[in-house]
């Protein structure tokens, strides 16, 4: 492992300073954060599992189904397990910085932490969209081989829109929980337990009505059939304030102030 101690011309202090030195733009930072999601072993595995799961779900449905599936039902069926697992990547993009202590490097290279957080959020949104985009060609393939005879290619834009909204909301929620707790196991457990535990509050009669407006799992369960009404969207919005916006805001403030060890 010996190396020459003579600095080559390209490595001397200030060698590249004639090239433009500029603050990295938010698009570049987002691209970097996307890359960071996939370039670790954990990230790669999670992405692979998500892709495999969608392929297995759709393949299984196509094989064991009764030939009445359309591209839309394939997408809807495969969507659920992925919507559950995918947002964990949103959590990890934030929490791995602390668990792996890479925050030290990240925030040294980009001291404006708000920009890093924004980039992570945008990367999670991009990945959410990408995850959905992966299902579509697989579903199309299944439709070719085992689609219904009539209406196999009917795909409503509203269904896709709702699925995308669902995915974006849950990825955003994941990022929010990651920022809020800043710790991988606590964030993941909270992400899965808290929205469900919230149902228990419904047992208190005074809070029964609040469930309709604030229970994230209930309000978002209306998404995916293409039939969400204006009232239901409003409820999705109010519950998102509690489960997406609030964790994102508090979590951002916390991360901005947190001591990097």
């Amino acid at each position: 492992m010996s190396a020459p101690t003579t600095l080559p011309a390209w490595a001397v202090p200030g060698a590249t300073q004639d090239t433009k030195v500029s603050r990295p733009g938010i698009a570049r930072l987002t691209w970097i954060e996307l890359r960071k999601m996939g370039n670790t072993r954990a990230g790669r595995w999670l992405l692979t599992v998500v892709a495999l799961l969608s392929a297995v779900m759709i393949g299984g449905l196509a094989y064991f189904g009764e030939g009445d599936r359309t591209v839309q039902t394939y997408i809807q069926m495969a969507f659920q397990p992925i919507a559950i697992l995918g947002p964990v990547l949103g959590i990890l993009t934030v929490t791995s910085e602390w668990s792996q202590r890479t925050a030290l490097t990240t925030f040294t290279l980009v001291p404006q932490r708000g920009r890093v957080i924004a980039a992570k959020f945008l990367a999670a949104m991009a990945l959410a969209t990408l995850t959905l985009a992966v299902i579509i060609p697989i579903a199309a393939l299944a439709t070719v081989f085992a689609g219904a005879e009539r209406g196999a290619w009917d795909l409503s834009a509203r269904v896709l829109g709702e699925l995308l909204a669902y995915m974006l909301l849950y990825f955003a929620c994941g990022v929010g929980f990651g920022l809020l707790f800043g710790n991988t196991p606590i964030s993941i457990v909270s992400f899965f337990i808290l929205p469900n535990a919230f149902i228990l509050l419904g047992l208190v009669s005074a809070l029964e009505n609040a469930q309709d407006w604030l229970n994230f799992s209930l309000t978002t369960a209306e998404l995916g059939d293409g039939g969400a009404t204006g009232d239901q969207w409003l409820k999705i919005f109010t519950s998102s304030l509690l489960w997406v916006v609030l964790p994102l805001v508090i979590g951002t403030v916390r991360t901005m102030r947190r001591e990097v060890k």
């Binding site: 492992m1 010996s2 190396a3 020459p4 101690t5 003579t6 600095l7 080559p8 390209w10 490595a11 001397v12 202090p13 200030g14 060698a15 590249t16 300073q17 090239t19 433009k20 030195v21 500029s22 603050r23 990295p24 570049r28 930072l29 691209w31 970097i32 890359r35 960071k36 370039n39 670790t40 072993r41 954990a42 990230g43 791995s96 792996q100 202590r101 890479t102 925050a103 030290l104 490097t105 925030f107 040294t108 290279l109 980009v110 001291p111 404006q112 001591e259 990097v260």
Partner: protein, 312 residues
């Protein structure tokens, strides 16, 4: 160039860094010395914009770290070589760095070569690296953007003797070619060989600050005698300060010639007599590290600044 002016950092009632001021001039290597917990890392973290100071300023080339357009292009920072994602390869870590810095990818391979990480090592995950390899990777990451300033916290940690020798050569040349280097260590000998200037910190305060020659010289004479007490009394009688060192020698604030004469006059048998280069600094350092009853420092070190409490 690094300018630290009256820097103070308080955590609650505890003062981690207390009115610290020093400068690192272009073309020099400054050794930042102090026992663990003395405030070295906190000072460096403030310098690199990771922690905000309670008061005072820390400037790099005249501007605060956070105001630098792309900090990695001005300052190379290595604060903790272990703070890397265990699941990423060394090559990937540097690739991410070039993306943030806006530099060509070829730099990654060049840099890996420069720090002595071969292809096989570069494609291994950092989790499988030894501490020495992580230090090399960390140094590569710090050098990536051709910064004119380097800030390195304990970079020799985990390097083998050959690695330490290599790193000294690299940093020396880096400074000689117009760079500014600030490196910390809790071991005096580790930085003595490469630093031009030394800044010693203890209990959050600067205990000594000056060129290496200044601090290591003028420390008086080290003498070892068969019957040291007799000699010590004679020297004290003629107005010299005599401090016993931990291993039984005497540190005297006089020229070797004067000590030799005193020995001859008292008929003391000497086993060693020499200029005590570094002994004063060593003593100060030991004192900072150990307890308050250690020997008082001598020579160029300002005794009013030496903290007497034990270091946390």
């Amino acid at each position: 160039m690094i300018e630290i002016e009256n820097l103070t950092k308080r955590y609650g009632t505890q003062t981690a860094v207390d009115a610290v001021s020093f400068r690192c001039e272009t073309g020099t290597v400054t050794g930042f010395l102090g026992p663990n917990g003395a405030g070295k890392s906190t000072t460096m973290r403030i310098l690199c914009g990771l922690t905000s100071a309670s008061s005072g300023t820390a400037l790099i080339d005249g501007s605060p770290y956070r105001a630098l357009p792309n900090p990695g292009r001005s300052v190379g920072v290595l604060l903790d070589a272990s703070a890397q994602h265990a699941g990423r390869t060394g090559r990937e870590v540097l690739t991410l760095g070039t993306m943030v810095l806006g530099l060509p990818r070829e730099r990654v391979t060049q840099m890996l070569e420069l720090v002595g990480l071969d292809k096989k090592a570069a494609d291994k995950r950092v989790g499988n690296y030894s501490l020495g390899m992580r230090q090399r990777l960390g140094l590569a990451h710090a050098l990536l953007g051709n910064p004119s300033t380097l800030v390195l916290d304990e970079p020799a940690n985990g390097l083998d003797p050959e690695g330490i020798f290599w790193m000294r050569g690299l940093l020396r040349e880096y400074a000689d070619r117009g760079g500014t280097v600030l490196l910390s260590s809790h071991l005096l000998h580790e930085v003595e060989a490469v630093a031009d200037r030394l800044v010693v910190i203890g209990n959050g305060r600067i205990a000594a600050n000056g060129s290496k020659e200044e601090l290591l010289a003028g420390a008086g004479t080290l003498v070892r005698a068969v019957e040291p007490n007799q000699l010590a009394q004679a020297l004290q009688g003629s107005g010299h300060n005599v401090t016993p060192t931990a291993d039984g020698a005497l540190l005297v604030d006089a020229e070797p010639l004067q000590v030799g004469r005193a020995a001859a006059a008292t008929g003391t048998v000497l086993t060693e007599l020499r200029t005590a280069d570094g002994a004063g600094l060593e003593a100060l350092f030991l004192q900072l590290t150990a307890s308050a009853n250690a020997a008082a420092p001598a020579g160029a070190i300002n005794p009013t600044n030496t903290p007497m409490e034990a270091v946390r």
